[in-house]
């Protein structure tokens, strides 16, 4: 990788990437006076009609996050955000908090959801950011097939494998536990 491909804040994206039709600005760039300029130090990339600049770390708004369940109540699960768009969030002393309300866990049968049958403490969850939420936390949602618990350990402490959309199995003891399971990629 040569240093010439790295853009700096305020530098226009190369014309080969911004050729008409004028692409939309993704992350890491912005439009000013009809030109698309980088806003972070990074490498430009074009995916179809969106150009973005990929930097060292994700540090902006968080549309798609990975998070760890830190506190559970019957009405909502509190999570600590760890990754955003498959990139780790910058390490800071305080962490960003997210909340999944009970009605945002599943797409169907929302009235029959029991929190204990969806998440347990320490589960690794993939979620979408619904909104900026309240003063403290982002509101998250797992209401999609590909969202939900990605990694969890059983009561015996062994890793669980997904067996259906609402069950995971401990391979060693054979016991099954209920979760809101994320559909594994590539199936």
């Amino acid at each position: 990788m040569s240093s010439s491909t790295i853009l700096l804040p305020g530098q226009p994206l190369p014309s080969s990437l911004t050729a008409p039709p004028l692409p939309a600005c993704g992350s890491g760039c912005y439009e000013s006076n009809g030109r698309i300029l980088a806003s972070i130090v990074g490498i430009p990339r074009r995916d179809g009609s969106v150009v973005s600049v990929i930097g060292r770390e994700e540090s902006g708004n968080t549309p798609d996050v990975g998070s760890v369940v830190s506190r559970l109540t019957p009405q909502q699960a509190h999570l600590t955000l760890t990754t955003s768009n498959d990139r780790p969030l910058p390490e800071t002393s305080e962490e960003f908090q997210g909340v999944i309300r009970i009605s945002d866990i599943r797409l169907t049968e929302r009235d029959k959801i029991k929190m204990g049958e969806c998440f347990r403490l320490g589960d690794l969850v993939k979620a979408k950011v619904l909104s900026l939420g309240d003063a403290r936390s982002y509101y998250l949602s797992t209401a999609a097939n590909e969202l939900g618990v990605m990694y969890a350990v059983s009561e015996a402490g062994n890793p669980l494998l997904p067996v259906s959309y609402q069950e995971m199995e401990d391979e060693l003891t054979g016991t099954r536990e209920k979760r809101k399971v994320a559909k594994p990629e590539g199936i």
């Binding site: 240093s3 790295i6 700096l8 804040p9 300029l37 972070i40 990074g42 930097g55 540090s59 708004n61």
Partner: protein
């Protein structure tokens, strides 16, 4: 044994001896091209700038520019305590190390940094895309390790904070750089003035002020410019003294040209920093 021991300070050894230097050879100038005799009027002193030296921070920078040394660290974006704000908040703190100024200042007592951090915040805000960071705050800490004049501290502080923010991967409109120019009593425009030049200007102004009341004869002044050279924008102008309009415009132009030079240095060190750290998961 001393009974009252201040744990916040590093105890110095009881005896200290000044270092002995090898005498200079005949005709050898003192180290550094910082003296005006070695550089042209529109030439700035060389800058050393490096990013990523403070590993605990999300982004950091260190600058040596003339008689100024600053370490800057950026933390964030971090979640901000309520109340909710649709935009990010910028917290900037300037601290002087006790050994940074001459005479040595009492630790944590001076009021100078408050004024400096307000000015610096003003110059930095147009460079950062704060609307990208709702409910978050960005904290910037500048530790001044060596200082000569407040304006030089400000201009170097602006440059190094831009470097540190870019190093932290925080979205910016452009890289902000600072520069200082000074019109001396002979009407010469000096870029990046050193402390002695500024003191000469001040004493001249004082003498004239006593002699002629308000007026300042041929006019002399100092100008600090904060700019975004990549966008061709000026974010902040701070001027002291009294000069003709034409002269002021010339000063601004010289300052912008100087800030463009600083931008080159800043860009170079950011590229080096990016290559060292690796970008986007690739090394």
């Amino acid at each position: 044994m001393a009974t009252a021991f201040d744990r916040r300070r590093i105890p110095a050894p009881e005896i200290s001896i000044p270092p002995i230097y090898e005498p200079l050879l005949d005709g050898e100038a003192e180290a550094g091209p910082s003296k005006r005799v070695d550089r042209a009027n529109d030439e700035a002193r060389p800058i050393f700038l490096k990013t990523g030296l403070i590993s605990q921070a999300n982004g950091s920078g260190y600058i040596e520019s003339g008689g100024v040394k600053i370490a800057c660290s950026v933390y964030g974006p971090r979640p901000k305590a309520p109340p909710y704000t649709p935009q990010g908040t910028l917290n900037l703190e300037v601290k002087f190390a006790p050994f940074a100024s001459d005479p040595r200042g009492a630790p944590l007592r001076d009021t100078e940094p408050i004024h400096l951090s307000q000015l610096l915040t003003q110059s930095l805000i147009p460079a950062i895309q704060l609307d990208q960071f709702p409910k978050s705050s960005i904290d910037i800490y500048l530790l001044i390790l060596e200082s000569d004049t407040p304006s030089n501290v400000l201009s170097a502080g602006l440059t190094v904070s831009s470097a540190a923010i870019a190093d932290a991967g925080i979205a910016m409109n452009g890289l902000g750089t600072g520069s200082v120019v000074l019109t001396d009593q002979n009407g010469e425009i000096l870029v990046d003035p050193e402390e002695s030049e500024e003191i000469a200007l001040q004493s001249q102004a004082q003498a004239q002020g006593q002699g002629q009341g308000q007026g300042q004869g041929n006019g002399a002044g100092k100008l600090l410019v904060g700019a975004l050279p990549a966008l061709g924008k000026v974010t902040n102008l701070y001027m002291e003294g009294e000069v003709e309009v034409d002269q002021a415009i010339q000063m601004i132009e010289k300052a912008i040209a100087a800030s463009r030079d600083t931008h080159t240095v800043l860009a170079q060190s950011l590229l080096e920093g990016a290559l060292e750290r690796g970008i986007g998961g690739e090394a």
